[in-house]
Amino acid sequence: MLRTLRAVLARNPNNAILLAFLVATFLVLSFLMPGKFLSLRNFQSMGSQISEFGLLSLAMMLTMLTGGIDLSIVAIANLSGILAALCMKRLIASGVWPAESLLVVAVAVAVALGVSLLCGWVNGLLIARVGVSPIIATLGGAALYEGIGIIVTSSRGIVGFPDRFAFLGNGFLSIFPMPFAIFAVATAIFALAINKTRFGQTVRMIGANPIAARFSGLNIPRTLTRVYAFSGLLAGISSVIMMSRSNSAKSGYGSSYVLLSILIAVLGGVNPAGGFGTTTGLVMGIFVLQFLSSGFNIMAFSPFTQNVIRGTLLLAVMIVGYLLERRAGRVRRGHGRAPARVNEAGEGAPPPAGATPPAAAS
């Protein structure tokens, strides 16, 4: 047991650091406020909160693995929430089924997932088939989806859903909050898909070296389209939980989650340039962030201060990552915004062994 643990840690030092950080935050919080932090209720509440941005972080990780990014996840979540809420309201008003019927809930969930899958698929088409860069495609997509939500609702919130639906966000499976159970199942499926399937392998290869992946005969457009569609779907699952927990759907809800999910992905060891990242690391990142948030709330930091700390943490993690990489002797090329492109002239390709970098630029 210990040996396997050590082997795992040696293979992935980032996860070792994360684990240490996680344990440290846990211990500090338990020590500082044992009554408030170490209670079943606090853990249940953290479990529900984790699921919303946890699912979004999974989406972010998936796109980052390919070297892309999805900035539209929150917009997709809000739009699918809004459309699901409208459907639910209409259904109940029409009286076809009683308000507390399971069918109403099922239709709402189906609409949310369908819309999110569609939005993600549109992103994917733009990126994979048309060739728009992921940043622009998902930024534009975010504006479009948010805009549709605003048009449909006239910028007002939709509130009040049946109790059956509220169960998804507020109910319990024995001691586990329902959202946490949903998140756990989604994470397990996600991990399997990434690690054990052909799809997951292709995703990683595209992120590690798109040119090599292409010349290996992998169907890159198809995989990329699916990646963004799945990213949308994960946002859709998150939207069901958000709707149910807040008992409302509104455009602009949870806009800070975009930054948070990027922070978690980077903290969890996902390389924004693509190709590398583990689900274990991501989940630890999610927990670290949640522990910190709980700590901030208990210490009554203002949301502004919390943002400063989160932003600083994001920058710090990236800087430390760079320094560690440099110490390990790997020099990062390019901007890091995207993997170094190998183009027709061979520029950006690794230098031949023994090539020395030019002396400090004159």
Partner: protein
């Protein structure tokens, strides 16, 4: 203008014009203006022209900053956080000192902008961090620090130092008209023109400008060619910060009200306008003229939505649609061209 690839034998002037992206943008702009004019005859009046150029000056100034960053292959989403910090800081300082001096306001605002921009540049160049994620992080930090340190209280028009109010109504010249008060061209306009001219000169004629394009083309090649990449990157992001400082002061004068909770979050609009103007987010390509047209089209589209009978709720979706359609066209063209030239690239 900046990146004409006319190294081969120069084709005729007409050919060159027709081949340019800007030509089609211009056609679109003219056609759209004609359409709006058809619906509402007040659209193409001198009054409206003066008004639109005045209100879009700040936006246009930031757009040229975004162009420079995009040319270098990066992206900056922190400029509104910088602008609002610079603006609020300048107003607060002037109020605290009890003085009303526009030069001082510009000095403080630009100073804060420059410093925050330099932070971006330092982080990006020293640690080779991804530009989008870094500026997202600094955006949160700058804005959060502003709200934590200086507070989130809005300052009303009546409390603003007088210099902002007189700057707001200052005109370069006025045109008398028979019915009503004379029309004036705001001083914001020559400031904007000066910024565009300066940027054009910098890109076109300085080593810094050439370096910016070189980094955008291929950062590793630029490094090996001996360009001082860190210095260039710091200069680029500081320049964006400086422009954000200028925009901050103009914005106070324009809306005569300061609140540190606005602007941040609408960075996409500026990026959209620049990208619409033909700048590539992958770097190395984009022109000042394209940016001017991109900003013009964007502003006209936004202001005329209401004239065309669509409610303001449509604005957001419209922005998204513009970006997606505009980018899809250029991206698809590139893809086809790359396929024809056997260039294997994923962008």
């Amino acid at each position: 203008m900046v990146s004409s690839a006319a190294t081969r034998a120069r084709p005729s002037l007409v050919r060159r014009v027709v081949r340019r992206n800007e030509f089609y943008l211009f056609l679109f702009f003219v056609a759209f203006c004609a359409l709006v004019q058809g619906v509402s005859s007040t659209f193409l009046s001198l009054e409206n022209l003066f008004d639109v150029t005045r209100t879009s000056a700040g936006f246009a100034i930031l757009a040229v900053g975004v162009l420079v960053v995009l040319l270098s292959g990066g992206i900056d989403v922190s400029f509104f956080a910088i602008a609002i910090s610079a603006q609020y800081g300048a107003v607060k300082l002037l109020l605290a000192l009890g003085i009303s001096n526009l030069a001082m306001a510009f000095l403080v605002s630009c100073g804060i902008g420059l410093a925050l921009g330099a932070v971006n540049g330092l982080l990006i160049s020293a640690f080779r961090l991804p530009t989008l994620i870094t500026t997202l992080g600094t955006q949160t930090v700058f804005h959060g620090l502003l709200l934590t340190v200086l507070g989130s209280r809005a300052i009303n028009s009546s409390d603003l130092p007088h210099c902002f109010l007189s700057f707001s109504t200052a005109n370069v010249f006025t045109v008398a008209r028979p019915d009503g008060p004379p029309l004036g061209l705001s001083v914001f306009v020559p400031i904007t023109v000066a910024v565009y001219l300066l940027t054009w000169l910098l890109i076109r004629f300085t080593k810094l400008g050439r370096g910016t394009l070189a980094i955008g083309g291929n950062i590793e090649s630029a490094r090996r060619m001996g360009f001082n990449v860190p210095l260039i990157q710091i200069s680029i992001y500081s320049y964006v910060g400086l422009l954000a400082g200028v925009m901050g002061v103009i914005n106070v004068a324009l809306i005569r009200y300061v609140t540190p909770t606005t602007l941040v979050g609408s960075e996409l609009d500026v990026i959209a306008a620049v990208v619409l103007g033909g700048a590539r987010i992958t770097g190395g390509r984009g022109t000042i003229l394209g940016t001017v047209l991109g900003v013009a089209i964007f502003e006209v589209l936004q202001t005329s939505l209401v004239l065309l009978g669509l409610s303001s709720f449509w604005q957001r979706a419209f922005v998204g649609l513009i970006i997606i359609v505009g980018m899809s066209i250029t991206a698809y063209q590139t893809k086809v061209r790359n396929a024809r030239n056997l260039v294997f690239r994923l962008e």
